[in-house]
């Protein structure tokens, strides 16, 4: 095998072989990647085999499809807007004025993951404004809570990658008030983390079943489950389409955010992390 590997490496001598590339991708990484890929892809392939390609066009012809997907998209929009409006100022304020409670915030924001959805729904019902009761947008409030752990972590990572205090003070010293500073200085520099928070929130809403089902609203995931009783293949095709569209949406958001960030040397978006170039070490030009 070693001989085969040497032949495959071509005429390069050990000295000229790209050793760093070999070090970057050791065999065990490929093994893990293959195993993980198989774990995710085999069920998808099985689902595709079960549904058959003919089932995909039929999805659009089914009753309730458009109203269900429409509701999910509207809820995604409402949830994303509410999440950002609530979480961005909160996170910025915590970073600027209450840095000591960041750990407490991390603890609080993780709660929605450990609290059962039924408890959250009952809690939201208790405090929701009356005009929202009886409307599907009530789910938006539940989803804001469910999205909080992901949104907070994304925004927190973005603010950590950015010298917020100095930027805000620089902006203030130049005559900008708080709103202008937030709009022109803070938001553009945490755009990557806002995108990340948006991506995670949208993904959560498009795939959330329990709360919608308990609240008796037919969102897209609920429709898929209900429709499964009528036609298994069409239901599975709808699931695959939802998965693909969500994935595509996420990739588009990440690509757009990443391109913009690279152009301006800003933060790079990954779903759970935001990284920024280290300005103190990478300098574009010498003096």
């Amino acid at each position: 095998m070693a001989a085969v590997a040497d032949v495959a490496a071509g005429a390069q001598t050990p000295a000229t072989r790209p050793a760093t590339r070999r070090r970057s991708y050791p065999v065990w990484r490929w093994v893990i990647l293959l195993l993980a890929g198989a774990y995710f892809l085999i069920p998808l392939y099985a689902a595709l085999r079960f549904a058959g390609l003919k089932a995909f066009p039929d999805v659009f012809k089914q009753s309730g499809f458009f109203s269900a997907i429409g509701l999910s998209l509207r809820l995604a929009l409402v949830t994303t807007v509410l999440t950002l409006v609530l979480m961005v100022p909160t996170t910025v304020y915590v970073h600027l004025r209450l840095p000591g409670i960041r750990r407490v915030m991390e603890g609080i924001t993780i709660l929605p993951i450990v609290i059962p959805p039924i408890v959250l729904i009952i809690g939201v019902l208790k405090v929701a404004p009356s005009f929202l009761l009886g409307t599907p947008y009530l789910l938006g409030l539940v989803y804001v809570i469910l999205a909080m752990p992901f949104a907070y972590r994304s925004l927190d990572a973005g603010l950590r990658a950015f010298d917020l205090k100095t930027m805000v003070e620089a902006s203030n010293s130049l005559g900008a008030g708080w709103l202008v500073t937030l709009w022109r200085v803070v938001l553009p520099n945490i755009r990557a983390s806002m995108l990340s928070a948006t991506v995670l929130t949208v993904a959560l809403v498009l795939g959330e079943f329990t709360a919608a089902s308990l609240a008796l609203y037919v969102s897209f995931p609920v429709w898929i489950v209900q429709f499964e009783q009528n036609s298994g293949p069409v239901s599975v095709a709808a699931s695959l389409m939802a998965l693909f569209v969500t994935w595509l949406l996420l990739m588009v958001i990440v690509a757009v955010g990443g391109r913009s960030a690279r152009r301006r040397g800003g933060a790079q978006v990954a779903l759970f992390t935001v990284t920024r170039q280290d300005f103190s070490q990478t300098r574009g030009e010498p003096e």
């Binding site: 950015f162 010298d163 100095t166 930027m167 003070e169 620089a170 902006s171 203030n172 010293s173 130049l174 005559g175 900008a176 008030g177 202008v180 022109r184 200085v185 553009p188 520099n189 301006r264 040397g265 800003g266 920024r276 170039q277 300005f279 103190s280 990478t282 300098r283 574009g284 030009e285 010498p286 003096e287």
Partner: protein, 370 residues
């Protein structure tokens, strides 16, 4: 704002003040106190800065110099005391309305804006139209020698370039007070020297009242008209650099500014000290409250040295400093002193040579024996 007649000023589009004009405002810090929990960062600090004057606050970490600057900028609130600019109390004025330019220690350019937009930011806040803003920002970038980098984003600029853009940005709003919070400390030595000269030159041309905070005495002494040495939230002494060096008011200032030897001595009464075989007068009241055994503070250039068989010291090392060579001598009692000698006369003072170190009868500072 008075027009300056230099070509450089014309190139800067008329944004430059004339030195000595009405550009700078008088600033007064009166009895400023500030505590953070049990730590007293400022303890009744008072300082008057004349219009157009460049004053540096110098001191070790934690002495309160940055707190003082941040209170002047409006980023911190004093527990008591006031800050006046042009005789108006600005203590309650928010930072955004103080019209003070500030350059920060860390790179503070907005990453989402080009160099031109960064410089133009303050002008935008002052409602200048885009064309005028761009012209003025371009002129300021020209003034700091970065007109070719107007479209560059901060990550495309070196550290020194970023601080020059930050300086241009602070000056763009034509502040009557410029605040510099250790703006050179993150830069390498060569760039620091260049930028130091550039800041001083611009400040003199513009006549902007400037308060500069640093822990680097070389920076403070070379740039400022006056230097205030701080310790434990108070000013120990404010003086022109030469006076600070030659006539320090306290032992702390004497030891903090420049290189200082500590030589064991004995007090002879309240105002004299015996050291290296001479009786020297004690400066001011520095001997008050000290026991008889003290350390005498003497600068390397004050001490005399001569090669002498059986002298009171042995040369241990020497450092070439250009026209001067600094000779390290170990005296009895394992005390090492540094003595400056003209390089031409120091050739024979090789390590191991026996030398006689003495000092003239001149006023000295004393401090408690270490």
């Amino acid at each position: 704002m008075t027009a300056n007649t230099t070509a450089g000023t014309e190139a800067a589009g008329g944004v430059v003040h004339a030195a000595g004009g009405d550009a700078g405002a008088p600033v007064a810090l009166r009895e400023l106190s500030r505590s953070f929990g049990s730590v007293r960062a400022l303890d009744g600090l008072s300082l008057e800065i004349a219009p157009g004057e460049f004053v540096a606050l110098l001191g070790p970490s934690g002495c309160g110099k940055t707190t003082a600057l941040r209170i002047v900028a409006g980023f911190e609130t004093a527990d008591s005391g006031s800050v006046t600019v042009d005789t108006k109390d600005v203590s309650a004025v928010p930072a955004a309305k103080r019209d003070m330019g500030m350059v920060f220690q860390s790179y503070s350019l907005f990453p989402n804006m080009s160099a031109l937009d960064n410089v133009g930011f303050g002008l935008r806040m002052r409602q200048l139209r885009a064309g005028e803003r761009s012209r003025k920002a371009g002129a300021l970038l020209d003034m700091v020698g970065l007109s070719d980098h107007a479209k560059h984003y901060p990550h495309q600029l070196s550290g020194g370039q970023q601080q020059r853009v930050a300086l241009a940005r602070a000056l763009a709003i034509e502040p009557r007070v410029l605040l510099l919070d250790e703006p050179l400390s993150a830069l390498d030595a060569k760039v620091r020297l260049q930028l130091r000269e550039q800041i001083r030159s611009l400040q003199q041309r513009l006549g902007t009242t400037t308060l500069f905070v640093t822990h680097d005495q070389e920076e403070a002494l070379s740039m400022a008209d006056r230097v205030g040495v701080m310790r434990d939230g108070r000013l120990e002494q404010v003086a022109v650099p030469s006076e600070l060096y030659a006539e320090p008011a306290t032992a702390f200032v004497a030891e903090f500014v420049g290189v200082m030897n500590r030589i064991p001595g004995q007090l002879e009464g309240a105002d004299q000290v015996s050291v290296l075989g001479v009786i020297a007068p004690v400066h001011g009241s520095t001997a008050a409250g000290l026991s008889r055994d003290v350390d005498v503070l003497v600068r390397p250039e004050t001490l005399r040295i001569a090669v002498q068989e059986g002298g009171n010291g042995i040369v241990t090392d020497r450092t070439f400093l250009g026209s001067v060579t600094r000779v390290s001598v170990r005296l009895s009692g394992d005390v090492t002193v540094k003595v400056d000698r003209a390089t031409t006369e120091a050739a024979e003072m090789l390590p191991g040579a026996s030398v006689q170190v003495s000092m003239p009868v001149t006023p000295v500072h004393v401090t408690g024996r270490r």
